[in-house]
């Protein structure tokens, strides 16, 4: 073929391709006010019929400037702020920051305080996963699991409230340990109050109820043909892609990676307890749902073991009245319900950090949305977004 013939052939093929692509696609704006976006998230999707191309999330509607604020706060004041990052699992946000500050101060946190932190962190995990159990079937159209899940979550929140005084924003940690439980603040008489009376019995009962609810949810949702049709094979996330994007937590484990920060980062005494790390097989929406369900059971088991073995002792290490953290920097990360949450604290010896970098799980989790939603159907956008279980406060900080 001569070169002009080749050019002609190439030109013709290009012409036919461009004619095909001439159809108009619609730009669909999902959010920021939308029943399914877990907050103010905006997705700009180019839609051709029911298929999407080029999905772009627009975030920042909830940016509150935590990192800048942290530069003008003391460490104790920052604790009050950071449990609002991922507001569904309030307590779990505080722990890695406290551990970071304690590391820089080289403090030894008393055993009892560590156990209490662990119990409350696991309760936060149960609470967060139950919210997922409630809202995810609702997005698929099933309204009933919401009531079963949230009813048991109320018990857990009541327990959290009895100990810390707050359901969502406990502000319960202090540098060196935990706060003496509700009722013994600085403005009241100094009878130090530990865990409320009857806490262990109520917790055991609550964990039984949670296990019962998980069984009910499994019956109701897991065997349902329509749920399986909507979630199996949808939104498959290969483990290499997940790791490269920084997707962590149950989303990563659903893709088959058996990696749990509770087992490798020793920020709390998880090595004393016997628990398995549930892992999914395919990395689709169904696996992400199932991994969280299994994790609720594991958390309930950890809480029971912790209650049985909790040592007595002080609740807080001895710390000076005005806390100054020595110079240094460290990064501490924890297995939050949503994924890996970490704080990189740069301290120069003052009362507040020089720089606090907050690594939030949902930020990395939704950075995968453009990749995973490429070519997806519109109803599947909802299914995939819901299965990633993110919270906008965590994304935007």
């Amino acid at each position: 073929m001569t070169s002009t013939d080749q050019d002609l052939v190439r030109h013709l093929s290009e012409v036919s391709v461009s004619v095909e692509l001439e159809t108009e696609d619609m730009t669909l704006n999902i959010g920021p006010q939308h029943p399914s976006t877990h907050g103010v998230l905006r997705l700009l999707a180019k839609v051709d019929g029911e298929r999407c191309f080029d999905v772009r999330p627009v975030i920042g509607y909830m940016h509150r400037g935590y990192e800048k604020l942290a530069e003008v706060r003391t460490y104790a004041q920052i604790t009050a702020l950071i449990n609002r990052i991922d507001w569904v699992s309030g307590y779990a946000n505080e722990v890695p920051f406290m551990v970071a500050a304690e590391k820089l101060m080289e403090l030894e946190v008393p055993e009892r305080a560590q156990y209490i932190r662990l119990i409350l962190s696991e309760m936060a995990r149960i609470s967060s996963h139950l919210v997922f159990m409630a809202s995810y079937p609702l997005e698929l159209g099933a309204a009933t699991p919401l009531f079963f899940a949230l009813r048991e979550r109320e018990r857990v929140l009541d327990l959290l409230e009895s100990v810390t005084g707050g359901r969502f924003h406990p502000n319960f940690n202090r540098i060196g340990g935990v706060k003496p439980a509700a009722g013994a603040g600085s403005t009241q008489r100094k009878t130090v109050q530990d865990l409320p009376a009857g806490f262990f019995a109520e917790t055991r009962e609550a964990m039984d109820r949670v296990d019962g609810a998980v069984d009910q949810l499994e019956d109701l949702v897991a065997g349902n043909e329509i749920v399986l049709a909507r979630t199996r094979g949808i939104g498959v996330l290969p483990p290499e892609v997940a790791a490269a994007y920084g997707v962590s937590g149950p989303n990563l484990r659903a893709s088959g990676v058996r990696f749990d920060l509770r087992k490798v980062e020793h920020y709390l005494p998880y090595d004393r307890f016997d628990f398995t790390v549930p892992v999914g097989a395919n990395g689709d929406c169904w696996d992400r749902w199932w991994v969280r369900l299994a994790e609720i059971r594991q958390s309930a088991s950890i809480i029971r073991q912790a209650i049985d073995g909790i040592p007595s002792g002080p609740l807080q290490a001895k710390v000076p009245k005005v806390i100054k953290v020595p110079a240094g920097e460290t990064y501490v990360r924890a297995e939050n319900p949503k994924g890996e949450m970490g704080y990189h604290v740069v301290s120069d010896g003052g009362q507040g950090p020089y720089r606090l970098k907050i690594r939030s799980a949902s930020f990395s989790n939704i950075s995968i949305l453009p990749w995973i939603l490429e070519g997806a159907l519109v109803p599947d956008i909802i299914a995939v977004m819901g299965s990633l279980d993110f919270v906008l406060g965590d994304v935007d900080r």
């Binding site: 669909l28 009933t144 009531f147 349902n224 049709a229």
Partner: protein
């Protein structure tokens, strides 16, 4: 008195009055049943304050609330079409009431082509839905309307084919005739022994109920109104009284679809052992009980299942329900000829 009733116009006025009261009442009763039943399934109480501790006046209060809302028509919307759409949807429901037999000789009009007319007229709602979606000048409504049109058209076929089996067995398309065929199947025994067509036509019954759920756009087939995705689908831009039309039409349609299914498969107003005279009085009550059982089933499904995706819905209709119903017709025909 009977002379008065012979007057065509009086009779007509009476019939119109019956429909005009029956439809809102049926709609409200079913709506209330849905609220209370769903509450029971979800560990809640349901309506509690309106009307004593039972909340029976809840829907009346809701209706009143809708009446006094502002009538908003979006600026870009096609106003005459926008206003017409809810009426089209409602017409499909109202026209169905005409042929339902509440007792021997107790139907508004006993048409010879009863079932044919019923199915034909219920498809008018499809146009109403499509038109509502398009005229709202809203992307979400448009998507909802298109989804609805695809779904409703796809499920018309299984609906119709499922009834063909019944028609073949009964030998008539008139709904009264179908009930009488079930009642007097064993001709010599009169109406004391017969059997409802659900027994031989169980497959047809299942197909009919599935297609009816799809025609009603109820979960698991409520993609057109997928609340968590499209806000409210094709109904998004409707407010106040117009929204009430859609709302009421859905519940009234549940009643009529249930009535059709009860008549064709469960024996309608007939119960073995009762004579025709007793049935003239007790027939409506018996039919209502049967309708309510089917409505209960619909409500139960709605609160248990999530919704199908559009393409899964379509493949269910085209790949499963239609072939199954065709097989059903062939089998019924063979059995009818052989036996």
């Amino acid at each position: 008195m009977s002379g008065l009733l012979d007057n065509f116009w009086v009779l007509l006025a009476g019939k119109v009055l019956i429909i005009a009261t029956l439809i809102p009442v049926a709609g409200m009763v079913i709506g209330f049943a849905e609220m209370k039943l769903s509450a029971k399934m979800q560990n809640r109480v349901g309506p509690y304050f309106a009307g004593g501790r039972w909340g029976w006046a809840q829907l009346i209060a809701d209706g009143e609330k809708f009446f006094q809302k502002e009538d908003i028509i979006p600026e870009e919307a096609d106003a005459p079409v926008f206003k017409l759409a809810p009426m089209l949807v409602f017409v499909g429901t109202v026209a169905l009431f005409v042929v339902i037999p509440f007792g021997p000789g107790l139907s508004i009009r006993n048409l010879d082509v009863g079932i044919f007319y019923a199915l034909a007229v219920s498809s008018i709602s499809t146009i109403g839905v499509l038109v509502a979606g398009w005229s709202s000048a809203n992307k979400y409504s448009l998507m909802g309307g298109l989804r609805a049109a695809g779904q409703l058209i796809a499920y018309e076929l299984p609906l119709v084919l499922a009834t063909v089996g019944v028609v073949v067995m009964a030998g008539t398309m008139s709904l009264e005739g179908i009930v009488q065929a079930q009642a007097g199947w064993f001709g010599e025994l009169g109406w004391t022994a017969g059997f409802p067509f659900i027994i031989p036509q169980f497959v047809g019954f299942v197909i009919f109920m599935t297609a009816a759920l799809a025609e009603l756009s109820r979960i698991p087939f409520d993609m057109p109104i997928a609340e968590s995705e499209l806000v409210m689908g094709y109904v998004t831009e409707y407010t106040g009284f117009r929204f009430l039309f859609f709302f009421l039409a859905e519940f009234a349609n549940m009643f009529t679809m249930g009535a059709l299914a009860a008549t064709m498969f469960l024996g309608g107003y007939w119960v073995p052992g009762l004579s025709a005279d007793v049935l003239r009085v007790a027939g409506p009550i018996i039919l209502s009980v049967k309708i309510f059982a089917l409505v209960f089933l619909m409500i139960w499904f709605r609160w248990t299942f999530p919704r199908f995706r559009e393409d899964q819905l379509q493949s269910l209709a085209w790949k499963w329900l239609i072939p199954l119903s065709l097989v059903n017709i062939v089998a019924t025909g063979i059995v009818k000829v052989v036996f």
